[in-house]
């Protein structure tokens, strides 16, 4: 079972916990229509599309409205700390767009870690706060882009905006940044680093690289990192090891780009329908290598 945890840009949307469905380019969480935009919406839609393709149950979501004030994020932190009880024994929990608050995050992650058979993934604000709070090692997978990799590599930075220039200048030397992040204890057990080349890392060691097909416009399209996290979450839930899931997901996200033929003005929700085919092709390609 996948559980996606994050915020939706609707002011005053209450805490909502339900299974989500994506069909005919519409996203529903329970009875609620959710906006299709980059961020947790794109992740949930992708996870739903990938789960459907892999014949898995629908993803479950823990969502709240937040336009940046932190109110919805705080509802989520409290829910994780006090009330979260997933129905499935084996759970992939993917934490996403949540406003960083190191004090609340410590309590929430502590509560999640009490559960056995849980794979804990963080991307976006949840990854920022996991690193800032010294919780990186509690996570099984982080999915940074190269700029966020510089943030993980900088032991002083508590947000990507504060990465020191001399570390950000090395943003193209991703293997060195990976090494620094592990040396300082600021990386999850595994990493999927998104970029011109995607790096799949296990306990500090680069175990795979994916760089084809190369679609430069994908960098401009908001939400293509979110689709990647949705795909990798579904693949882990289907039984792949974390690093194999990350390798297939990296390939599938690129193939989604090939199939959608994006330009820098393409919107992420125009690409999600290509995920089932991209997933199938990625699994076939990597199985034949």
């Amino acid at each position: 079972m996948i559980v996606v945890v994050g915020t939706i840009p609707i002011k005053d949307m209450p805490l909502t916990t339900d299974f989500c469905e994506y069909s005919h380019e519409k996203l529903k969480g329970g009875n609620l229509d959710l906006p299709l935009i980059n961020g947790t919406s794109a992740l949930v839609a992708t996870a739903a599309a990938a789960c459907n393709a892999l014949e898995l149950p629908k993803p479950y979501a823990v969502l709240a409205g937040d336009i940046g004030t932190g109110e919805g994020s705080n509802l989520i932190y409290r829910f994780l700390r006090e009330s979260f009880k997933p129905t499935s024994e084996k759970t992939v929990i993917t934490m996403h767009y949540i406003k960083p608050n190191v004090l609340y995050a410590r309590d929430a992650v502590k509560a999640l870690k009490k559960r056995a058979n849980t794979t804990l993934i963080a991307d976006a604000g949840s990854m920022y706060v996991a690193k800032a709070a010294g919780l990186a090692k509690d996570f099984d997978l982080f999915t940074p882009d190269s700029g966020e990799m510089a943030f993980l590599a900088d032991p002083e930075a508590m947000h990507p905006a504060y990465v020191r220039s001399f570390i950000f200048d090395a943003v193209n030397d991703v293997p060195a940044l990976i090494q620094q992040a592990y040396q300082n204890g600021n990386a999850a057990k595994a990493l999927l680093v998104k970029g011109v080349t995607d790096y799949i890392v296990d306990e500090g060691k680069i175990v795979a690289e994916v760089s084809e097909p190369c679609i430069p416009a994908l960098e401009a399209v908001g939400g293509t990192g979110d689709t990647l996290v949705g795909i990798v979450s579904a693949l882990i839930d289907s039984g792949y090891s974390i690093t194999n899931a990350a390798t297939i997901a990296a390939k599938a996200n690129r193939l989604m780009g090939t199939l959608a033929k994006p330009n820098p003005a393409t919107k992420v929700w125009e690409m999600i329908r290509f995920i089932p085919e991209a997933l199938r092709k990625a699994e076939e390609t990597l199985a034949s290598e």
Binding site: I37, D66, G68, Y97, G222, P264, A265
Partner: protein
């Protein structure tokens, strides 16, 4: 920064990043020499911003901000080395479009019309809200990230937006 420099500086602590962004703009408009920095470690929560000022300006800064509806939590002397937000801005030319990158935030606009076509990067909850609010509008007509946003990601997006607006205006006849 030398010890003497530190003793001459103070930082203004504000409620949140949104107030810090507003305060920076107000103070710069009034020609105060300010820069945005991280708050001291003991009060950081992970997504916050403070304003560094000259210590001697403390009273005037506080009054100016209050007259603009911003009540600083505190103005404290700068006593330890401050982290400051990244100032690295890069551009990627895609032909009809330009992507402006400020740190981890990216804003892409169409050269001819100035239409904002995508916002990407970041991880704070106001980024999807800013994408909903800004995409489809032109750089000259949209509300700015510092009017709509609350977080450090919005602060970096404001830097990318500012550069996009400057570029677009330069190209106009």
């Amino acid at each position: 920064m030398t010890k003497k420099d530190k003793s001459e500086k103070a930082i203004v602590l504000l409620k949140d990043v949104r107030e810090s962004m507003k305060a920076e703009r107000i103070l710069k408009t009034e020609k105060y020499d300010v820069k945005v920095v991280a708050p001291p470690p003991e009060v950081r929560i992970g997504c916050d911003l403070a304003i560094e000022i000259s210590l001697v300006d403390g009273f005037g800064v506080e009054n100016l901000l209050k007259s603009n509806g911003i009540n600083p939590i505190n103005v404290v002397p700068l006593s330890n080395l401050q982290l400051k937000p990244l100032e690295i801005i890069k551009e990627v030319d895609f032909g009809d479009y330009v992507m402006v990158k400020a740190g981890h935030m990216k804003l892409t606009y169409e050269k001819q019309s100035g239409e904002i076509v995508n916002v990407s990067g970041g991880g704070c909850p106001d980024i999807p809200f800013l994408a909903l609010s800004m995409v489809g509008k032109t750089v000259t007509d949209t509300k700015r990230p510092d009017e709509l946003g609350y977080t450090l990601c919005a602060f970096m997006l404001e830097k990318a937006y500012e550069r996009a607006l400057q570029n677009y205006r330069k190209k106009q006849p």
